[in-house]
């Protein structure tokens, strides 16, 4: 972004990478897949790089409003400084916070999730797939809570999956009834409270029950949780979990 600013140009869109997308080895693959698609579609985008900070979602949900405000206000200063209007992100937690919570702090942007963005690229004809690698394969889609219930986006990711000619098999708990992966509300950063089972195990059992060999997701934290669950069931050789952007890049 600094480069754009120095050249006095403005990108079409700012790609908000997020902590997971920047640092987590698995989520970095999603970041790269999404960037490759953006490049293939010839989109002029920018990232903030080291000027980006955590949006503050886990801090706020844990109850730590001070830490949330500090990182959020800093981000808003940065974004407003570059006069950013459009933001796309591959993380539904970043998406939700930027879209729904930053306005109250003085940060107003047009924020969309990467599944919405990709769907738009298909609609605009900037992106196409060639009867790809997943044609005819059974895929189940896991709704993340922050894209789904928190923001009511259920159909866009499914429309996107249809582009890949896959056979979409739904889990019993899907869309508004979707079951959480267990990571939200800052659970990602702590041990589970005592119980009978891990939430990701419960979810993975349901996903495996569909007979799908690919689980499609839209959130880096869901991917971590569900991958762990699949490994715990020792099914990692039979069932793969991918972000939708990864399914697309493999079909291009």
């Amino acid at each position: 972004m600094a480069q754009h600013a120095a050249e006095g140009t403005k990108p079409e869109v700012l790609f908000w990478v997020g902590c997971a997308g920047s640092f987590d080895a698995r989520a970095q693959k999603v970041t790269k897949a999404f960037v490759k698609i953006l490049n293939a579609a010839d989109i002029d985008f920018a990232i903030l790089g080291n000027e980006e900070s955590c949006t503050g979602d886990p801090a706020r949900r844990a109850g730590n409003e001070f830490v949330f405000q500090m990182t959020a206000i800093q981000n808003i200063e940065t974004l407003n400084g570059y006069d950013i209007k459009n933001i796309v992100t591959a993380c539904p937690h970043c998406f939700n916070t930027l879209k729904n919570e930053y306005p109250a702090l003085g940060g107003n942007y047009n924020v969309i999730h990467h599944t919405q963005y990709l769907n738009q690229l298909f609609t605009d004809g900037k992106l196409s797939v060639q009867g790809g690698a997943f044609k005819g394969r059974k895929v189940t889609y896991h709704d993340s809570c922050y894209l789904g219930r928190a923001n009511g986006i259920y159909e866009v990711p499914r429309e996107l999956l249809k582009q890949l000619d896959i056979e979409l098999v739904e889990m019993k708990r899907c869309k508004t009834n979707g079951l959480c992966c267990g990571a939200g509300g800052a659970q990602m950063f702590k041990e589970d409270e005592p119980g009978d089972k891990r939430i990701n195990t419960e979810r993975v059992e349901e996903a495996l029950g569909t007979g799908a060999d690919v689980v499609a997701a839209n959130c880096p934290f869901c991917i971590t949780m569900l991958s762990d669950g699949i490994k715990a069931e020792e099914k990692q050789d039979e069932v793969a979990i991918y972000d939708i952007s990864e399914l697309i890049i493999q079909s291009m």
Partner: protein
């Protein structure tokens, strides 16, 4: 005449005591913090029409929705009959509307008959689901004792109500042929026209007259009993569902309420707003909620609206996997704690005063207990903020808000909370990332 006087006295007393109790509930709900409803009023009315009146969200589970629908619609229509009963009781007349509204009367009475029968079917199936099939969501640990008894009392009262209606109508049908002068023709009735003669045919006129009166009195007395039972029961939802849906916050579900005090403090620390705009002398308030008085009154209204159906707990990922958290229990606990505080204030308990020289009000209340004595930290730590409970509630109760308000109290006011979270907080504060990593945010580009 004596019957009229007794009726007027009893109904007067029933309405008086019920009104007093409802006023008390209103006062208890107002223990919560001021909160001005935000958002569009037309959106709220739409919710009242669709969600409260139209029961839209019930239909996520259609079996209970249909059964509940029978009871609900029967309840709505029976109000017409109740108006007639009140008129009859006060003026000593019999079936006042029968000669006044012509063909509409048999239509209304028949509708009520059919609905009452369906409501009876619904009630019996609900009793079976609760006590014989033992539906898991109705038998979680928070349902032990009073909540289960409460539910059964309500269902049994409903059976009593319907039985009284059919006794009243059935004997009436038989009496219409014996004494048409006093018992105006109601036309054929869907159920009582065959049930009446089958049950009461051949009885003496005096027995019939007694049974007709008994049916009438039992019906109206059960209604009065219900009216006065509502305020101590989960059944209060039949009234509060409507305001509750109206006042439900209309913001995005993913949005947590901003805390402007903290925002301004941080902005002034960062030099973004002049310090003069922030009152540095002001005593920092306690953040979040450790008691009912720090919750929004809407949260407390939510708690009193809850009818303990357990749809929230049934879909809670934490509860489903054996954690202690149950969103329903959170709501029940808030209600019970609010009731306890209001009762102590009403009793004027001196030892509940924060400042002994001031009167005992909600602002001056401290009994050494808090919401955390009802809801443990283990429970609130288990929440994934997934909004499943919020989505599941048929009357738009939000259990997530009080959970997050309690987390805020624990972290901000007590500086406590799960120790696992500390590295995440420090890391965001120091390096702007949720993980303490030495790498650059741009390293992924190199590969």
């Amino acid at each position: 005449m004596i019957q009229q006087i007794i009726f007027i006295l009893i109904s007067g007393a029933a309405f008086f005591f019920a009104f007093r109790q409802f006023a008390k509930i209103r006062q208890t709900i107002n223990l919560g913090k001021d909160h001005t409803p935000t958002g569009d009023a037309s959106e709220r009315w739409k919710n009242v029409a669709l969600v409260a009146f139209g029961q839209k969200k019930m239909f996520k589970r259609w079996i209970p929705a249909v059964l509940h629908g029978f009871i609900y619609v029967a309840f709505l229509f029976t109000q017409i009959e109740l108006i007639e009963i009140l008129i009859d009781g006060i003026f000593g007349v019999h079936r006042f509307f029968a000669t006044k509204i012509g063909f509409l009367y048999p239509v209304i009475i028949n509708t009520i008959e059919i609905l009452s029968f369906l409501a009876l079917v619904g009630t019996v199936i609900f009793l079976i689901r609760r006590n014989l099939i033992k539906l898991p969501r109705l038998h979680k640990s928070e349902m032990k004792g009073w909540p289960t008894k409460d539910a059964n009392i309500i269902l049994i009262l409903e059976i009593l109500l319907v039985s009284a209606i059919f006794t009243m109508n059935g004997t009436d049908v038989v009496l219409q042929s014996i004494d048409p002068a006093h018992f105006p023709d109601t036309g054929p009735l869907a159920i009582s026209s065959w049930l009446g003669p089958a049950l009461f045919g051949g009885l003496s006129e005096s027995t019939l007259l007694f049974l007709e009166r008994a049916g009438w009195w039992v019906h109206i007395l059960t209604v009065f009993a219900f009216l006065n039972y509502l305020p101590v029961s989960k059944h209060l939802h039949i009234l509060l569902a409507f305001p509750n849906v109206y006042f439900a916050k209309s913001k995005s579900r993913g949005e947590m309420d901003n805390m402007p005090e903290i925002m301004n403090e941080v902005k002034s620390m960062m030099g973004l707003i002049p310090e003069s705009e922030v009152d540095m002398e002001a005593e920092l308030p306690e953040f979040g909620a450790n008691d009912v008085m720090e919750l929004d009154w809407v949260n407390v209204l939510n708690a009193f609206t809850c009818t303990e159906c357990g749809r929230c707990t049934d879909v809670c990922p934490a509860n489903t996997t054996g954690k202690k958290l149950s969103p329903r229990k959170v709501m029940m606990d808030i209600r019970d704690r609010a009731t306890e505080i209001q009762a102590n204030i009403d009793l004027g308990k001196i030892d509940c005063k924060k400042d002994a020289d001031k009167p005992l009000t909600k602002e001056n209340y401290s009994d050494g207990k808090s919401l955390f004595d009802y809801i443990t930290k283990e429970e609130i730590h288990a929440c994934t903020t997934c909004n499943a409970c919020v989505e599941a509630c048929p009357v738009m109760i939000n259990p997530l808000e009080p959970i997050l308000a309690m987390r805020r109290y624990e972290i901000l006011s007590e500086s406590a909370g799960p120790s696992d979270w500390v590295p995440m907080f420090t890391s965001i504060e120091n390096s702007g990332s949720v993980w303490q990593l030495p790498d650059s945010r741009e390293d992924w580009i190199q590969e």
